[in-house]
Symmetry: C2
Subunit: 457 residues, 2 copies
Amino acid sequence: MSLDAVLSRLDADLPAATERLLDLLRIPSVSTDPAYKADCDRAADWLVADLASIGIQAEKRPTPGHPMVVGHVEGDGPHILFYGHYDVQPVDPLNLWNRAPFDPAIEETPAGKVIRGRGSSDDKGQLMTFVEACRAWKEENGTLPCRITFFFEGEEESGSPSLIPFMKENAEELKADIALICDTGLFESSTPAIITMLRGMLGEELTIKAATRDLHSGMYGGVAMNPIRVLSNVIANLHDDQGRVTIPGFYDGVPELSNEILASWDDLKFDAEGFLGSVGLSVPAGEKGRRPLEMIWSRPTCEVNGIWGGYTGDGFKTVLPGEAHAKISFRLVGTQDPHEIRKNFRKHVEGMLPPDVQVEFKAHGASPAGQMSIEDPAFEKAKQALSDEWPMDAAYVGCGGSIPIAGYFKSILGMDAMLIGFGKDDDQIHSPNEKYDLESFHKGMRSWARVLDALTK
Amino acid sequence: MSLDAVLSRLDADLPAATERLLDLLRIPSVSTDPAYKADCDRAADWLVADLASIGIQAEKRPTPGHPMVVGHVEGDGPHILFYGHYDVQPVDPLNLWNRAPFDPAIEETPAGKVIRGRGSSDDKGQLMTFVEACRAWKEENGTLPCRITFFFEGEEESGSPSLIPFMKENAEELKADIALICDTGLFESSTPAIITMLRGMLGEELTIKAATRDLHSGMYGGVAMNPIRVLSNVIANLHDDQGRVTIPGFYDGVPELSNEILASWDDLKFDAEGFLGSVGLSVPAGEKGRRPLEMIWSRPTCEVNGIWGGYTGDGFKTVLPGEAHAKISFRLVGTQDPHEIRKNFRKHVEGMLPPDVQVEFKAHGASPAGQMSIEDPAFEKAKQALSDEWPMDAAYVGCGGSIPIAGYFKSILGMDAMLIGFGKDDDQIHSPNEKYDLESFHKGMRSWARVLDALTK
């Protein structure tokens, strides 16, 4: 077989591949809205049929929510699982779209051709880059290069309620040597990237309670404890003047990066000024003495995501509220233990309360950070394959967010995941006018052909 | 003339007086809701007719909102203006009322008879105590004891939008030697009180802005400034560890009370424990080293009345908001200058902001504190008259709230006001099941007869 022949076929077949993607994009598979249940089902059917068209035995598999699509093709060499999701975000506010979100089209823009429509980047377009690479490979060579399991989810945009049970029930069937996930982007829209670190997440909601009811500040102001002031004090004291989190034990399990990794990140020449400038900021606001990329990828954080209490409507009301609330989240790295941190956070807050004040906590999600085993030679092979396709060399990068599926592959199926994707920062995923660059689609499928070649040579 | 005869007549006439009040309470004069506009008008008509029935020439006077009622009776001696309001608060939540709010009745309770219904205490019942005292006086003596102006407002519960223009336009007509205001209560439901200090009020709303839009904490968390944290820091730093406000110049014009006043307040044996305990608190939370009554009446405060920012709905959203907001109010005393404090507060907040953060302010109300001239012999006379009526001696007290009308009488009409009222702490004004003790109504009218007698002797 020849990789070049596959790549040429992908080039020649691009118009047809694009038509197939547009066809899939026309199905409004919004998973979070029950009104689109049948459409989600239809998208799953479409994928089963498309996989069948290239000789892959696939099935729609029921869950309590939207179906999974699972397909298998046998082969020699490593067993690869590929994951993507066929569901999409809701489209509102509809009036901000320049075209109907489920009437996709190729549009010319000053920056080049784009595929415009809901799901074009997140994640139907990305999912199809891998399917198209397999199609070209199969058509060129008659078989695929190795054993591959296709695993498509229909609930990613609505919290993946069926994912863990389904993975547990079908663990033997889904377990492979490595997972490939195509739901991320290029680094700064230009450098192909493999994510090797994912931050974990811990969510806490707290309610500070003082008086048993709202009080009038004319009557009680000056003598009664104000829970908003107490909450503000708690939040103000969660960081020290170096920007470090003050919860005892918080930095247990936070690793210092190797000089090698730090050097490779420096090589990325991250445009912190542009990154912050695009949202009106100029000064990295994290821990003193840390690089901006460390702040985002490899340092833990404590952020307030919401706060409320007292009168928040128009005008003014001189109320002394009985309660005040905040939602606080922690991004976790290394081997930080979310449950230990939850415990220590609660104790820390309780220790800051003045008399007459109580606190109630509500637990939201808790997931540890993820760290891929880049010692596995597959990582270096994939990295080289990506470097061969794109103008810039590929990089191992971190991810400030949490991509739970990668953690589940590790914890439930015991396999590492390679997160490779071709989205760009301006794709407007989850927003009106979502697009996927035709270049991302085209070079994305070529990238997968190269990765498959590299992993199976 | 004989005061005793007037008091006896008031005793004998109590059932008829109560019927008159019930009649007025049946009119749903909710000023804030346009649906009750005709009812407000009807309440004004009722008062004009009732004043006419005791020989007082009164008129309904139009305003852009609900009408004023102004009545005059000529006479010798001091010219007294009496103020009350005929409008009432809305009644929702209706389901918490034990009877229809505008179907008032006398109810027997373990603590004695009460008049139950919206407006019974605030302020129709209180207003009628003075009218009934005048009626008995007139019927007993043929004339009233001095020149009296009756001034009833219909917009007190909706911010008094017409009050200042009306007072300015009719200043000559309304100006008297002293104003009597019946819209307050007994001290701790038992001691007759004349309010001689009213705290002023300053309202500020601030918006802390960082990024130009909401950010995803997975992408920006750790590197982007969080305005909720900035706002919390600002609030946490508005007080020092002694509970004093940190704004430069804030205490300019805050007087230390004379030993005489402090001693008289100590004589009141204020039940701070019970006052706080009734709302689930136990520790006075104001400035260290101050008596609870000082905290409420004679010390300035800075309170947060509302705070909001980021995601405040159910569940969790890892947003880094672009903005955070708070409503902050100051209770002012002595000669504190609200405009100076507004200026200093804004400068103080601006001085606390880190880079990349802006603040926007919105001004809400500003009114200085009020201090009555108790050197005027009228105060001592009225105090003695109240002491003669009630089991406990009357007291000069402060008021933690702001009663703007008293300030307007001073600033627009140049006259002091005596705030005397017979409401009790458990009257549930502004709440479901409002009531006025029959004792408050009865001894209230007797009190006014005594005060009129004392002021005109």
